[in-house]
């Protein structure tokens, strides 16, 4: 396997002595010939730009941000997996979508998706993506305000989808399945997907959720093509050691949608959606308009002036 983790971690180790240098290194026979080494400093600083632009998470909607180092590795993996494909993000509070597009636009990576669209119900996220894409002139990145409970109409079909949804600890993974279903619909049930979900050997619920998602995917005509275990850590105070995996799904040959996309209203699917007793009640999180986006808010500080002599 041209394992992206192995690849970037090898690169990481070699880059450490001279992190600023972009050194041409002979291609390894295991790497695709057209791909070159990653400048780790450039990659981290690019992801840092994205993190700076990212709205703060809302815990009531299970928005929990991935740690920055893991975002760098994850972005490279996803760029590799979705190279030259149309990629839909079904929700993306982490801003992996922006990282993937930005790393390509900055030429830190010389591969990546041909187009990325983010579907998210948080207008702050949508605006952050659109503003960043505009500022950095990233023409193949956009975002749409979309609630996952509404029918999915992706317009032009996507080749693959990515989702890091609410992890479904209290509903046996049903909230994950809802996001996965929308991802499958975005690809016309013929593409591939990456699902980022909890992965822990000690706890029972992540195992049940993984089983539930795999069963749901099989019913929808998808199979698990691979799994990368315990890859990511999060800024999650109440489960600081909890990690997530990448679960790769792919449609079976000739797979077709069994139904048209429709609104999800079944109370059984909505119960405990964002955690125990946390049913969805909000269609969109709307952004408050402010002119100081990206810098310190005026309500964070006040100025105490130097004393002027003679006064």
């Amino acid at each position: 396997m041209n394992g992206p983790i192995g690849w970037i971690s090898k690169v990481t180790r070699r880059v450490i002595p001279s992190p600023t240098a972009v050194q041409p290194v002979p291609q390894q026979s295991t790497l695709p010939a057209e791909r070159r080494r990653v400048d780790l400093r450039k990659a981290i600083n690019a992801v840092s730009d994205v993190v700076q632009n990212r709205p703060r998470p809302l815990r009531i909607f299970d928005q929990i941000h991935m740690k920055t180092g893991d975002m760098v590795l994850q972005s490279e993996m996803i760029a590799d997996w979705a190279d030259q494909k149309r990629l839909a993000f079904i929700g993306d509070g982490d801003a992996i979508s922006v990282c993937v597009a930005y790393l390509r636009a900055r030429d830190v990576l010389n591969f990546g998706p041909s187009h990325i669209t983010v579907f998210d119900f948080d207008e702050r996220t949508v605006e952050a993506v659109m503003n960043f894409a505009d500022r950095e002139r990233i023409t193949n990145l956009d975002a749409q305000l979309y609630n996952v409970l509404d029918a999915m109409d992706p317009g032009e079909r996507f080749d693959c989808f990515y989702t890091n949804p609410p992890w479904g600890a209290s509903n046996n993974g049903e909230s994950v399945n809802v996001f996965v279903e929308r991802g499958m619909e975005a690809t016309g049930h013929t593409g591939e997907g990456v699902v980022v979900i909890a992965d822990d050997d000690e706890l029972e619920w992540p195992k049940r959720v993984l089983a539930s998602v795999q069963q749901f995917s099989a019913r929808e005509g998808f199979y698990v093509s691979r799994m990368q275990r315990k890859l990511h850590e999060y800024h999650l105070d109440d489960a600081p050691g909890l990690k997530s995996c990448n679960l790769y799904l792919a449609a079976l040959p000739g797979n077709k949608a069994s139904r048209q996309s429709g609104a999800i209203t079944d109370p059984r699917r909505l119960e405990n959606f964002y955690g125990l007793s946390q049913e969805p009640r909000v269609r969109y999180v709307r952004a408050r308009r402010r002119l100081d986006y990206g810098v310190a808010h005026e309500d964070e500080y006040e100025l105490e002036f130097l004393e002027v002599s003679g006064e």
Binding site: R59, I60, E202, L203, W205, D237, D238
Partner: protein
Amino acid sequence: MNEIFRPNAGLLFMKIGTHAREDLKAIIARKTEEIRSTGFGMWGYGGNTCHPSSMVQPFAKSFEQRGQTIHLCMEQMLSNHFAEPLCAAEYSADGMTWHEIPETIRVLGSRYALVIDQLREERFILPLNQTRVPIGPSMGRLGSRYIQGRVDKACLEVLEAPELTNAADQREIEINLVATLQAPYAVFLRGQR
């Protein structure tokens, strides 16, 4: 075992000490008076380990449905808490509908508060290896493995028996102070007065 620590009971464990530059003795005296004059008190806290609406409320409600009361079990510790002693003005159970905090209650330097009554000194041993986290992303994790590092508070359920391990430290915690949670159990705070 006692009335609070018994199998299937729910409790909220919290380490306590100086908060917003006010020492614990002064806080206890102030909260005792708040409960006497108002009928309930608000015990301020912060962090993300006991989020009011996604953790404490569903946890407490699930035990309330079983006819049980949730006890707040507190372990005294030495701490410096340098948060500004700003007095919150409003509280909300759901983050949407806000109410003025009664004049008789002052919650300082906190984003959230537990709604409490029957605050009292009570000493007993809480074996964390006989508890587990019943809700949230750490659901199922043993209390003794959960309460460590930055995690200093937790919703816990008492198990029938402690986990049998060879661990040198069985994590037996001395509880010094106890209160009872009252609906709506935990609230969001905002504003200043």
